[in-house]
């Protein structure tokens, strides 16, 4: 129930639930147009207009008809519950709502809610005192702010209204008004929960402005009392600025705000905090400002300002970038110089090594000759023949035992030519005739057919006796070397079998790789065929795509076939055939299969192949096997390779008269004691190793008249190198 007497003498009253009435001159008039909800207050404006505040909005009354006031400014405060109204001395009308305060001045509304610093709480006590402070309160407490603050806000001079809060006064909402009164002595009266709160007009107002201060600046936790001189380099620094404001009467109610020019776009209300923290400030000049208002809204006379500089870090400066570029250029030049010098040095070392090796080889040959001479003296058949007709004129008695023919038969015409094995005949006869004509002493090996039809291997050494510059007689020795020869043949067979076994074993290692290798073209073939089918089903097939797809099917089919062909050739049991080879191509063919397996193990196989390598004579499959074996060995040694050492290097080089191939790994390396024994058969350090791999490698390389050896790699691991002589035709 609310009552109000306007200046014209009308009595306004409400009786709950939206019903309001006016009594004038003894007549009752109902006010229509109010919606449901309690009427909280009536108010007469200067103009005589009557406003009604209800739970559901703010209304103006014209001819006893209430119309809702819909102003865009009112929409910003959400609540339509108008709880209190008060007319200030300046003619402003103050309205209390559930979510803030509204000021109506000079015909326009201005709403103050939480964004403007006014508590978003139920405000149903509202009064302006004689010193122009607005007091407003409700369930959460009583607040006070100078009206000048609201003026400043309206002129955009402050973002928030500074209120002083008295939380100890809390008022239970009540539907009956009015609940505040401005007394004639200037004091104000506010209805409280039990009794009345009186605030006298001579209430002390603190007119001493607070003095904002910057007390300390901490950089990464280190204190810097001299705040006038702060500078530091950018980066991960934490700058903590401590500030405050001196005000003695009510320090708790001082309101401090700060702003970092160049960083904050607006003033920040420090609330209870007295420090501001900044991290990762960009290089530049900054100004930190602090200002404050005291409990009665009196603002500080001046802001406290501190300037500081954030310097660019050394690497952010221009000169640093310049120096970096210059030093990179300098360094690369220097390293090129150092690298070429070390290459020269390595070349000299290699040269020396080659000379040493040659000397050793010569020594070996002469000792071998002495040894052979000795052997011949014990088992040899002496003979003499006519240099022109090749007819024997004399043979030792051992000849009968050896071949089963009587001595007389040896001495018949063309005996030698007729009894040389048919397969060897052409070469042997031609060789002997040639050497005889040139007058050279010589030795060679060939087969003869014995009386029992068996083939006998003979080592034939002879001396040409010259008379008057013409070859007259031949004198020599025949040695039976059949046992040695057949042992050699067996060894060769054995070697081939072993090689095949070894290749088949390597094949196991490569099974995944081969499957992958074949699978790729197959996938592409199937896919392209499906695409072609799909395209051809369309009404207007894109024939260009179809043709391309078919073309790729052909290409990939051939690719798959050649892969399979290559694999089969590795396992084929075939005789040693030699041909002119490019070792680079042999190496590339060999590693093609093992490459995916190497990658799967997280290793990187790098090749450094010398361009235009001279050709060598050899068997491609056997050499591929050696290379494959060396690469697999390297990869196995690097099973536990450290990061950064995952490179396996395959190199080819040409060295006067030789071609060399090196495989370098960064694996576990070879113990010094083992270096000499590595190539012995059955010598192995691997639990599953047969110890045959390197032995077979050596046999193969030596069969190619080459050599193979191992050394330590730098900084870790091992290197295996073999060398093969360049093919004759190129050499001469």
């Amino acid at each position: 129930m609310n009552c109000y007497l306007d200046r014209s003498g009308s009595l306004w009253f409400s009786v709950g639930n939206g019903d309001a009435f006016r009594i004038q001159d003894g007549k009752l008039h109902a006010v229509r147009g109010l919606e449901q909800g309690n009427v909280n207050w009536f108010l007469e404006l200067e103009s005589g207009e009557i406003w009604i505040g209800t739970e559901n909005g703010l209304f103006t009354v014209k001819n006893d008809r209430a119309e809702q006031i819909n102003d865009p400014a009112l929409a910003t405060i959400t609540s339509s519950h108008y709880t209190a109204a008060h007319v200030g001395a300046d003619g402003s009308i103050w309205l209390g709502t559930e979510t803030g305060v509204v000021r109506y001045k000079s015909g326009s509304f201005m709403a103050f809610g939480s964004n403007e610093g006014i508590s978003e709480e139920f405000t149903d006590r509202l009064v302006v005192d004689s010193r122009q402070h607005l007091w407003f309160g409700g369930r959460n407490g009583l607040s006070m702010a100078p009206i000048s603050q609201f003026d400043h806000h309206s002129k955009d001079q402050v973002n928030q209204v500074a209120c002083r809060q008295f939380e100890s006064f809390q008022f239970t909402p009540s539907p009956f008004g009015p609940k505040t009164l401005l007394a004639s002595d200037g004091g104000i009266w506010i209805a409280a929960n039990s009794g009345v709160l009186k605030i006298p007009s001579n209430r002390h107002i603190n007119s001493v402005p607070p003095r904002p201060q910057i007390e300390d600046v901490k950089l990464d936790g280190k204190s810097n009392k001299d705040v006038s001189n702060v500078e530091f380099a950018s980066g991960r620094h934490r700058l903590s600025i401590q500030f405050g404001a001196v005000s003695f009467s009510s320090p708790k109610n001082v309101r401090v705000r700060y702003k970092l020019e160049g960083y904050d776009s607006d003033w920040i209300d420090a609330q209870q905090l007295r420090s501001a923290d900044y991290t990762d400030l960009q290089p530049g000049d900054y100004q930190f400002k602090v200002t404050a208002t005291n409990e009665d809204g009196v603002a500080a006379e001046a802001e406290r300002v501190m300037t500081f500089t954030v310097h660019p870090r050394w690497f952010e400066t221009v000169w640093f970038k310049l120096v970096t570029v210059l030093s990179v250029i300098g360094f690369s030049t220097l390293s090129t110089l150092v690298y070429s010098r070390s290459l020269r040095r390595r070349n000299e070392v290699l040269q020396r090594e080659i000379n040493d090796r040659r000397l050793a080889e010569t020594r070996l040959t002469s000792s071998e000759k002495r040894f052979r001479d000795l052997a011949e003296s014990t088992h040899a058949i002496p003979w003499e023949a006519d240099a022109q007709t090749q007819q024997f004129t004399f043979v030792g008695n051992q000849a009968v035992e050896l071949m089963g023919y009587p001595v007389e038969e040896w001495l018949t015409e063309d005996f030698w030519i007729e009894h040389v094995h048919p397969e060897d005949r052409e070469d042997a006869v031609e060789y002997r005739l040639n050497t005889t004509q040139r007058g050279q002493n010589h030795q060679f090996e060939y087969r003869m057919i014995a009386a029992d039809g068996s083939a006998v291997w003979l080592h034939d050494v002879f001396h040409v006796v010259m008379t008057d510059g013409v070859a007259n007689r031949l004198r020599g020795f025949l040695v039976d070397v059949t046992d040695r020869r057949s042992a050699e043949e067996k060894a060769k067979d054995y070697l081939q079998q072993l090689s095949r076994l070894n290749r088949t074993a390597s094949l196991g290692e490569m099974a995944t790789s081969i499957a992958h290798e074949v699978n790729q073209p197959l996938f592409a073939i199937v896919g392209n065929a499906q695409i072609a089918q799909r395209l051809l089903k369309q009404d207007q097939p894109d024939m260009k795509e179809v043709r391309e797809a078919l073309g790729e099917i052909v290409g990939d089919g051939n690719r798959a076939a050649s892969i399979i062909d290559n694999v089969r050739s590795l396992t084929r049991k075939e005789q040693r055939a030699t041909e002119s080879l490019d070792l680079n191509q042999v190496a590339l063919d060999a590693i093609k299969f093992i490459m995916p397996e190497i990658r799967k193990r997280g290793l990187n196989l790098r090749t450094e192949l010398e361009d235009a390598l001279p050709a060598i004579n050899g068997n491609s499959i056997e050499l591929q096997q050696v290379i494959l074996n060396l690469v697999i060995n390297g990869a196995q040694a690097m099973r536990h390779a450290e990061k950064g050492y995952n490179e396996l290097l395959l190199q080819t080089t040409a060295q006067n008269g030789f071609v060399e191939l090196t495989v370098k790994d960064h694996g576990v390396g070879i113990e010094q004691d083992h270096l000499d024994r590595l190539f012995e058969p059955f010598f192995t350090t691997k639990p599953q190793g047969t110890g045959m791999g390197l032995a077979i490698n050596r046999t193969i390389i030596e069969a190619h008249r080459g050599s193979i050896w191992a050394a330590a790699n730098n900084p870790c691991g091992a290197e295996f190198r073999f060398r093969l002589p360049v093919a004759e035709s190129i050499k001469s």
């Binding site: 909800g37 739970e55 609540s79 519950h81 992958h516």
Partner: protein, 202 residues
């Protein structure tokens, strides 16, 4: 048929790359193919839904490593692995790391097309939804404290009356707050509000 999405292919085998590119090109997709993981990482991907067809065995970075790099970059591109000889542990690892599928080569073209289309659709949907949630979060920032309080109670299923009594305000104000919440968030139905709050984990 022209589809809005990009198929990325990373495979070191030129034949496979060419075939897969043709398959998707002739099916109306935009295709970008790369011979190595490094090439793909260097590529500036346009902001469009897509799907990555990735070979496992490659020199340099392999497929699994590329997947890890992408996840470190928070690139939420769906990945379908293709491999010539994948084993179960490998596929488990890939799927656990977020791969959409792990297909053995050779893959039927029909299956590949279906898988990729599904992955791209899913990706596009995810992108749309994550944009929606992002927008919703931004809008929530605009709510005042009181509005936020009201929203938090609304999504628990409380009636206006209950909210009013909980916050000590009238029903009319609750209604007004609610209206402003819905307005600011650009939502008309409470069901949407509940769904989005759930999704945005608010």
């Amino acid at each position: 048929m022209t589809s809005n999405g990009i198929v990325y292919i990373v495979d070191d085998d030129a034949s496979v790359r060419s075939m897969v590119t043709r398959l998707f090109r002739t099916s109306g997709w935009q295709v970008e193919s790369f011979a190595s993981a490094a090439e793909f990482l260097d590529f500036r991907r346009p902001n469009a839904p897509g799907c990555l067809l990735l070979d496992v065995e490659m020199p340099g970075l392999n497929g699994m490593e590329l997947q890890q790099r992408l996840s470190e970059r928070h690139a939420e591109l769906p990945i379908i692995f293709m491999t010539g000889h994948g084993d179960i542990p490998m596929s488990v690892q890939a799927i656990k790391a977020g791969a959409v599928d792990f297909l053995p080569k050779p893959v039927s073209d029909q299956l590949l097309l279906e898988k990729v289309e599904l992955a791209i659709q899913t990706h596009a949907k995810q992108e749309r939804e994550s944009n929606e949630v992002k927008l919703f979060r931004e809008r929530c920032e605009m709510l005042s404290n009181r509005e936020r309080e009201v929203m938090d109670l609304v999504i628990t299923g409380m009636l206006n009356k209950q909210i009013a009594s909980r916050l000590g305000i009238t029903q009319a104000t609750v209604k007004a707050h609610r209206g402003k919440v819905m307005n600011k968030l650009g939502i008309t139905a409470v069901a949407d509000l509940v769904r989005l709050c759930e999704r945005a984990k608010l």
